[in-house]
């Protein structure tokens, strides 16, 4: 109900809009050509009726199976999303998934633009960091739900509207022949590494944003740590992968990145090594949530259920990430201790985070 009003609002709001659209359509028709190339997607997901009476029960064979289309906005690695979507569709062949996958900054920009235009068009968010999702929750975008598998998750890894799907470990990467020993975060401010340390951009990558929140909250580091990195000539690149490849190429000697990224590079043969900080990797959870405005809640819920299920978690582990559920085996080795910040507390202080960071590293 709410969705429909949201979706049609732009056309009504703008006077003359409909006429202009008709003119555009007329032009295209007069030109006598197909309006769009192959693979055109419908502008809006078809408004399918949610299957009535679907309860959050893990036994989908007893009720009408979900169908229709769900639109998923995700920041998760492409291969991982693909594997999950494939696994989900094997069980739910009637659900079509419209995926928009991009880095956190780009997904955030899209969500903001859609809000400006009348409403978010996604049914599901599957993000990288625990801070962004709390913001969307606070903005009232997310829908409450009780996934049957939520009990298997760490209580610190969930809220009323979002749930952890995997764990990300922020670690360090060093050149294979890195000469000054780097063992903990603080070593990155060693003058021997002047102008040779790369950091991912918190405005671009969710994992970098999460890391910023974690450091800011830790009295041993604080935003002051970023200032010291800056003073040592640390360079901001976009993604954790760019940090890893920059170190592999020799543009940098060391940097902060995801363990997943370093392991992938090492597996291919890149001359880098993984440095697990002695004080512990910063570990964050990657949340999934469904939107209030979803017009296919049944399918959205079934997707969340699948990601949190044993099968879904096994797929996540097989794709190289640490599963969120401790009772699911597999995933990468954990080479040291893990620091799990209080993400709820970190979120309360997040308003000034990016501003504080930008004051140090500029725009």
């Amino acid at each position: 109900m709410k969705v429909h009003s949201v979706m049609t609002r732009p056309a009504n709001r703008v006077p003359g809009f409909r006429a202009a659209t008709l003119v555009a359509a007329a032009v295209v028709l007069v030109a006598g050509c197909a309006t769009a190339g192959p693979g055109a997607t419908p502008s809006d997901p078809p408004a399918s009726e949610p299957a009535p009476g679907v309860s959050p029960s893990p036994a989908p064979q007893t009720v009408a199976p979900p169908g229709g289309t769900i639109r998923l906005y995700s920041t998760v690695t492409q291969a991982t999303v693909d594997a999950i979507v494939e696994g989900y569709q094997a069980v739910n062949p009637n659900v079509t998934i419209d995926l928009f996958r991009a880095p956190t900054g780009e997904v955030a920009a899209r969500i903001a633009a859609e809000l400006r235009e009348g409403g978010v068009r996604a049914d599901l968010f599957w993000l990288t960091d625990p801070l962004s999702i709390q913001q969307y929750d606070q903005d009232g975008l997310l829908a409450a739900y009780a996934p049957p598998e939520a009990a298997s998750l760490d209580p610190a890894d969930q809220g009323a509207t979002f749930w952890a799907t995997r764990h990300l470990n922020m670690v360090m990467v060093g050149a294979a022949d890195l000469s000054p020993a780097v063992t903990d975060w603080g070593d990155l401010t060693d003058p021997a590494l002047k102008d040779a340390v790369a950091l991912p951009d918190p405005g671009f990558a969710g994992s970098a944003f999460g890391l910023l929140g974690a450091f800011a909250q830790d009295p041993a580091y604080g935003l002051e740590f970023y200032q010291r990195l800056k003073d040592n000539g640390a360079i901001i690149v976009k993604s954790p992968d760019e940090v890893t490849t920059g170190v592999a190429e020799g543009r940098f000697k060391a940097g902060i990145t995801l363990d997943f990224s370093v392991r992938s590079a090492i597996a291919k043969g890149s001359p880098v090594r993984l440095i697990w900080p002695t004080s512990g990797a910063v570990t964050m959870y990657s949340p999934i949530a469904m939107l209030q405005a979803s017009d296919n809640a049944a399918a959205a819920k079934s997707f969340i259920d699948f990601v949190l299920s044993g099968d879904g978690q096994a797929i996540i582990a097989a794709s190289g990430w640490e599963p969120a559920r401790a009772d699911v085996a597999g995933g990468p080795p954990i080479d040291g201790s893990q620091v799990r910040p209080d993400w709820t507390a970190a979120f309360r202080e997040q308003a000034d985070l990016l501003a504080g960071y930008r004051a140090i590293f500029g725009e």
């Binding site: 732009p10 202009a20 693979g39 502008s43 955030a108």
Partner: protein, 549 residues
């Protein structure tokens, strides 16, 4: 005068054809360009004038200054290098001239951001020359790199403009006369040749400035990692990577500043260059001045330049694409086809199909729109040409944001919204060759046919259409090529399932995977290269004037 349109309307009273043509064209202009730009301007109106001050404080203002500065520097470099190359090429032996022409036209078909990636792979830190010779160009990721690659991209156009003028106007006879009268070759160049080339030289400088102002691919690849933002890349980052409402406001302001700079530059240069034309001298049939040994050396230098700026980067890119992992030397023991296998991923093939489909649709519709000029006659056609040029003059980033604001509510995330910007932007590319060809239609032939009793429809089918065919095919192919590698506008407009191959490549590049990026860029370069072959063949057919060669 009024070619087919006038003849047809006079012959059978079919004025509706002309009226319909004007109607369709006006409606297309209103829908594709005017309405979106009005909405963009209206958005600024809603934000209020203080939004401009806010947007220009800090990063926004720096981006504007960077863009203007870059434009000036690149324009000067392009004019100097392009003119020199044209003088060398047009004054060389016929083989030398052919070499220089081929060397200059070839790079025109390398998509700019593929060229940027190639440049970094060849001369950047840990690039080809760094690895094998220990030499890398400082500042590849930064202003020096952006300037270099933008210059390399624009030099061929300046060359074409100046060389065409040299071939037609500044005849060697005048130079010879000057030399015979005792002027040194430098004096002859300074006092005879260059003054005669004033208009094409200034014109190519303005073109290079506008190209640089509108450039997105090169500053995105080489500027963003080096902390250099131009108006276009700042706008892209504000629109695509920021949820902050202030970023959107700044994008609107920057888009309007961009279009304002472009229009002021074009208008000013029209005033400056349009007023007094340089004296036209009769075209003589004499060949070029006898080329000496210095000319051979100069041609060789040009060819070395072409190889270094176009061939080496593409080879470097292929080597990166073949390398198993980042950081390994690109030697045979590290080669793999795995990166190219990624290109065959269904998602990427889908993006390729969308690129091709969009380019096909844009090329076809634009050719039809351009063909309307045939129906409305030459005089009205000139007005249409002016109208179509407006869309082309609007920078891609501005047009994309305007269309997003204008149609985003209903069409966001559809291929149609991308097609709309392609049509608005590329319309002039389709119009110009066809209009030019219509202008050159031999009136005698048309009159003779009419006098011999041919009906207008027969005249159209048996004379007009065959004569226009090369221009129509040429127009179609040029738009098709531009559509294939377009990234400035599509990167702002794509959504779930509507990304094109160029957008995928840009996104992979931004994520920081050089090997896959290189494989994608090579694929993109090859797709465009294959598309360029017919263009070169058709160009030759158009360029060859009857009765020469």
């Amino acid at each position: 005068m009024g070619v087919a349109g006038r003849d047809r309307s006079a012959g059978s009273g079919r004025v509706p054809g002309r009226a319909l043509g004007m109607l369709v064209t006006s409606a297309a202009f209103a829908a594709l360009v005017a309405y979106p730009l009005a909405r963009l301007t209206g958005t600024l109106g809603d934000l209020g004038p203080e939004a401009i001050t806010r947007a220009l404080a800090g990063a926004g203002g720096r981006a504007v200054l960077t863009s203007i500065g870059l434009g000036v520097v690149v324009a000067v470099l392009v004019v100097v290098i392009g003119t020199t190359t044209a003088l060398i090429g047009e004054r060389a032996s016929s083989r030398g001239r052919w070499l220089v022409r081929a060397g200059m036209v070839g790079p025109l078909f390398v998509p700019p951001f593929v060229a940027a990636l190639g440049w970094a792979a060849a001369y950047g830190p840990r690039g080809l020359t760094d690895r094998w010779l220990g030499i890398s160009l400082p500042g590849t990721y930064g202003l020096p790199g952006v300037i270099t690659v933008l210059t390399v991209e624009a030099v061929p156009l300046a060359y074409l403009i100046v060389a065409a003028a040299l071939a037609g106007r500044a005849e060697p006879d005048l130079e010879r006369a000057a030399r015979a009268s005792g002027a040194t070759s430098l004096d002859a160049l300074r006092t005879v040749t260059l003054p005669l080339l004033r208009r094409p030289i200034l014109g190519s400088g303005v073109l290079a400035f506008i190209m640089t102002l509108n450039a997105f691919g090169v500053p995105a690849v080489l500027g963003i990692p080096g902390g250099v933002s131009t108006i276009t890349t700042r706008l892209y980052q504000d629109l695509a990577f920021s949820a902050d409402p202030a970023s959107f406001d700044r994008a609107v302001v920057l888009a309007l500043i961009l279009v304002a700079i472009a229009f002021v530059t074009v208008t000013a240069s029209d005033r400056l260059l349009g007023g007094h034309s340089s004296p036209r001298t009769a075209v003589t049939s004499s060949g070029p001045a006898t080329p000496g040994r210095r000319s051979t050396v100069a041609v060789a230098a040009v060819m070395v330049g072409v190889i270094a700026t176009a061939a080496v980067p593409f080879v470097a890119l292929i080597l990166v694409a073949l390398t198993r992992a980042v950081g390994l030397p690109p030697t045979p023991e590290n080669w793999t086809l795995a990166n190219f296998a990624e290109v065959l991923d269904p998602r990427i093939l889908g993006a390729l199909a969308r690129s091709v489909g969009l380019a096909l649709a844009a090329a076809t519709i634009v050719t039809v729109l351009g063909g309307i000029v045939v129906a409305v006659g030459r005089r009205a056609g000139r007005v249409l040409g002016g109208v179509a040029s407006i869309g082309f003059a609007v920078p891609g980033s501005t047009l994309a944001l305007a269309v997003l604001i204008g149609y985003g509510g209903a069409l966001r995330d559809t291929l149609l919204i991308i097609l709309i910007v392609y049509l608005g932007k590329f319309w002039a590319l389709g119009h110009r060759p066809i209009a030019g060809s219509v202008d050159r239609l031999p009136n005698d032939l048309l009159r003779a046919a009419r006098a011999s009793g041919a009906r207008p429809r027969d005249v159209f089918r048996s004379i007009v259409l065959p004569l226009l065919r090369p221009a129509i095919i040429g127009a179609w192919l040029i738009v098709f090529l531009f559509g294939l590698h377009e990234v400035t506008m599509s990167s702002l407009l794509y959504g779930p399932g509507t990304d094109t191959l160029a957008v995928v490549t840009l996104n992979v590049q931004q994520l920081g995977d050089p090997t896959i990026t290189a494989a994608l860029a090579v694929a993109l370069g090859l797709v465009v290269g294959v598309g360029a072959i017919p263009v070169l063949l058709v160009r030759r057919a158009i360029d060859r004037p009857p009765g020469r060669e």
